[in-house]
């Protein structure tokens, strides 16, 4: 048993270790060390908690059993999950944090004396507000993440689900929660507490269903942020510094990522939240752009020829590459090109893939050195000097319409200047529009050669033709 003051100091130490864990991610070289700081912080926090409670009755055995049970399951998933499924995994993990926050809040509400918050039915006012907020945000995170998970997994359609009065209902429910928390503080009624949680579950669902598949990177970052605020809310209830610091870190991290994602799509945060993006755009565009323009159609042989005679090639990967599992074939192709002294770099748009940084991880998995991979702003000027731009599985992020047509729904979105390179190879299965539902002008440019095929198969064919 250690004193409250000593354990508070240790919680502070673990909070600092968590800060260092995030700090380590500023470069791939320091990142692994950072991860160990995070693990150390977690071990300290858990150990101190056991010591400060000091109750080593039968319940301790159960705590360890459940800890190992959950840990084994978590480790199993961590080793088995394919990198393409990272967005779903992260969404799933967010839902667990949310639900854990709800459970801890319920436990604190049911037996407040354990946490020194007063007695049942007579909980300290501040604690009551803190735990209600923690529980409500946790519940929203949980159900919202479940919906995001289902959408990413493809179990639920990525199309936005909208109905009239949707935002009004959300607003009404949100205000309802505030009113209920107010009454909860007055009469400490258990039923009101349950109602707050139930309504929060409902809000989480309603909040995410109108958001279309294209906006998923924002949604995941946003839920990341929510899970942080939920943890912070519980941290206030438990008067635990480690939790408060962590909650604030995670909350601001998720908020910054949401901001970066929104900016990369030139969309305001509110328009993403209000949702309905994918649906309107596609119906509107399919009408006015139906006139068939000529497209230059090529095959693997042409592509191989073009690249063999190039001196620099920029590869623009997108989510389609991940779906087709073409990253390894791509890497093989690049190796061959490099042998012929061709300079090859990768250009990554911030929203390529379905979560922040997703494409980088997939390329890393395929053993692409990270110093050959460049972000949008670092490489965009290089397209003008490149002989070939090889677009594989990306679409909207290369669409020049974002720079030229103010009427386009993606106007103003920063895009890769692919069309400036001498020739563009565009691997795609068909001429169908991308996620945003907009026709890509790039298909019809004179210097574009369309390669209609599955990304993996086409890349493998090109590899054969490079010999």
């Amino acid at each position: 048993m250690i004193s409250a003051n000593l354990s508070a100091v240790f919680y502070l130490v673990s909070g600092i270790l968590f800060i260092l864990a995030l700090r380590g991610l500023s470069s791939p070289d320091t990142s692994r060390q950072g991860n160990f700081f995070g693990i150390a912080g977690m071990i300290i926090a858990i150990t101190v908690t056991f010591l400060s409670v000091g109750n080593f009755s039968n319940s301790l055995i159960y705590v360890f059993v459940f800890l190992i049970l959950g840990g084994a399951f978590g480790s199993f998933i961590a080793f088995k999950i394919p990198m393409t499924a990272m967005p779903e995994l992260v969404a799933g993990f967010h839902s667990l944090v949310g639900l854990a926050a709800v459970f801890v809040a319920i436990a604190a509400f049911l037996s407040p004396s354990v946490f020194n918050l007063g007695t049942s039915g007579n909980i300290k006012l501040a604690s009551l507000i803190e735990m209600s907020i923690g529980a409500a945000v946790g519940a929203i995170t949980f159900s919202g993440s479940i919906i995001a998970f289902l959408k990413l997994r493809g179990i639920m359609s990525g199309a936005p689900i909208t109905f009239s009065g949707q935002h009004f209902i959300n607003l009404f429910l949100g205000l309802g929660i505030l009113v209920l928390i107010f009454y909860l503080c007055k009469n400490q009624s258990t039923n009101i507490f349950w109602t707050v949680i139930l309504i929060s579950f409902l809000i989480g669902v309603l909040l995410i269903i109108p958001i279309g598949g294209a906006d998923m990177p924002v949604v995941i970052s946003m839920l990341n942020s929510y899970s942080g605020w939920a943890a912070a809310g519980i941290g206030f209830t438990l008067e635990n510094t480690a939790l408060i610091i962590t909650g604030a870190l995670v909350g601001s991290s998720g908020a910054i990522l949401s901001y970066i994602m929104c900016k990369a799509m030139n969309r305001s945060f509110f328009s993403v939240i209000l949702g309905g993006f994918g649906a309107e755009a596609s119906s509107e565009v399919s009408k006015d752009k139906k006139d068939q323009k000529p497209v230059k159609n090529g095959n693997a042989e042409d592509a191989a020829f073009l690249m063999k005679n190039a001196s620099s090639v920029i590869i623009v990967p997108g989510y389609g590459m991940a779906v087709a599992q073409a990253q390894h074939a791509l890497r093989e192709m690049v190796d061959k090109l490099k042998k012929n002294d061709i300079k090859v770099t990768y250009a990554i748009h911030p929203v390529a893939g379905r979560m922040p940084g997703h494409m980088n991880v997939l390329l890393a998995e395929a053993n692409v050195p990270y110093d050959e991979v460049f972000e949008l702003e670092d490489i965009n000027n290089d397209f003008a000097n490149a002989d070939v731009a090889f677009v594989i599985g990306a679409n909207d992020v290369t669409n020049p319409v974002a720079k030229t047509d103010p009427k386009s729904p993606i106007f103003g979105m920063p895009v890769l200047d692919v069309e400036k390179s001498k020739s563009v190879l565009f691997v795609k299965r068909s001429l169908s529009p991308g996620y945003a539902g907009i026709d890509n002008e790039l298909f019809y440019k004179d210097n574009t050669l369309m390669l209609f095929a599955d990304a993996k198969k086409m890349t493998e064919d090109i590899v054969k033709n490079l010999d």
Binding site: G71, F93, V104, G235, A242, G254, V368
Partner: protein, 103 residues
């Protein structure tokens, strides 16, 4: 007059938001996915609340209404802690391999 401890906690909270703001902006964009998985893992430090709730049960009554929620939260948070840190480690390992190969 004595300052309410709540003020200290809110101070820590707000300062941590600022620390988070600057630290996260310095994270390189290529590591944004590991950033999300590691923040996931560390936010599961919520397990400390779950442990306190779970250990509160007396020896005769290990499973009372509140400790059951504690146990449940321990399972959820443990999945996250182990899963989050390990998957982050797995990803970061991939960033290393290339570096070595190139040398």
């Amino acid at each position: 007059m004595e300052i309410d401890p709540f003020i200290f906690r809110i101070s820590i909270f707000i300062l941590s938001i600022f620390v988070g703001y600057y630290v996260v902006w310095s994270v390189t964009p290529s590591l944004h996915t590991p950033l999300m998985s590691v923040t996931n893992a560390i936010s599961s430090v919520i397990i400390v609340g779950a442990i306190i709730a779970a250990l509160a049960g007396s020896s005769e009554n290990v499973f009372n209404s509140s400790s059951i929620f504690g146990y449940a939260a321990i399972i959820l948070a443990a999945v996250n802690i182990f899963g989050g840190f390990l998957v982050t480690q797995r990803m970061l390992q991939m960033y290393k391999k290339k570096k070595d190969k190139k040398k």
